[in-house]
Symmetry: C2
DNA sequence: CCGGTGTTGTTGAATAATCAACTAATATCA
DNA sequence: TGATATTAGTTGATTATTCAACAACACCGG
């Protein structure tokens, strides 16, 4: 590596604002979800992805990818969701190694009960804070960031996330 | 609360892009820091704030606020940084309840060694992915989000974070 | 069909974060 | 002053996450 280009004062300012903004949004949504529904945001995401899948069921690996969970983390998380009765694990019919996580009626009900408050909080923390133009810009910025990550991720050899 | 306004498809798309973008940036920076320096990003932030403080020292509460750590989390984290020899705790001279966390020479050296690689990663994950105009927009967007959080936070009664 | 290789998912140990309870010191105010 | 409330910070228990090792199965070439 050649001499590192240091951040300009402006770049550093924006970087820190960005960190703080992300943390404040996620802290607010997570706090609201736990307070009103007892569901941490990570679990909420799992339930959402299951609820949108055909048959409200997904293979563990697909679910992990959709929720950006590692396989291990998902395995532990689904175990806890199973204890709550919100998810069940079934054997995969086409691959005997595989497991299919399926949302139960109770899980769907819990999600349905939690969603309105969560949506309201997302509005408060993010959407209502921005102008429509800024929302549009944020979409493009986020897409650009994700594209860059996907690029460098293409040479990723990490155990779980590729 | 009246009937919740559901998210439009476009709002939901942007919200998910935003979540994913934040996760990809923080995952990348954290992975790089741990791989190259053995310092998780949260610890790095603590070291940075100390390094910038007068005397490279800060009261625990100020440090917690600067790093958006809860008091308990900071207390545990500083204990671990102390084990590494990067920080020392001293009694506060003006308030006998207080503790002052001070960066050691070793801690400063560790930070200095880690910084270039970290900066490089921030460029890769965020800055180089965006146009200068988008960086400017991101700064304003983040500022707006933080301002909204500060507003609703003004009625916050949480034990730690206010 | 058999052996190597990659994939799927789980497990338990180690590490980290959260939560509630607590000590000790300070601030407030009658 | 003295009673009470606040604030600073720590601690230990609970819970969550990561990490490395693993078992079971699928796939692929000979």
């Amino acid at each position: 590596m050649t001499t590192a280009r240091w951040l300009t004062a402006e770049e550093q300012r924006i970087w820190r604002l960005f960190i703080q903004a992300c943390e404040s949004v996620f802290a607010a949504t997570d706090t609201q979800l736990i307070r009103d529904s007892g569901i941490p945001h990570g679990y909420y995401e799992i339930l959402v992805h299951l609820s949108e899948a055909p048959g409200r069921a997904l293979r563990m690996t697909q679910l992990a990818h959709a929720s950006t969970y590692s396989k291990s983390r998902l395995s532990h998380a689904v175990a806890r969701l199973e204890e709550r009765g919100w998810v069940v694990r079934r054997d995969c019919p086409t691959d005997r190694r595989g497991q299919v996580a399926q949302l139960t009626a109770e899980g769907f009900a819990a999600l349905a009960a939690a969603a309105p408050g969560h949506v309201e909080q997302v509005r408060k923390s993010l959407i209502d804070a921005l102008t429509p133009e800024q929302m549009r810009q944020l979409g493009e910025i986020a897409a650009a960031i994700n594209a860059a990550a996907a690029d460098s991720g293409s040479k990723c050899h990490d155990a779980d996330l590729c």
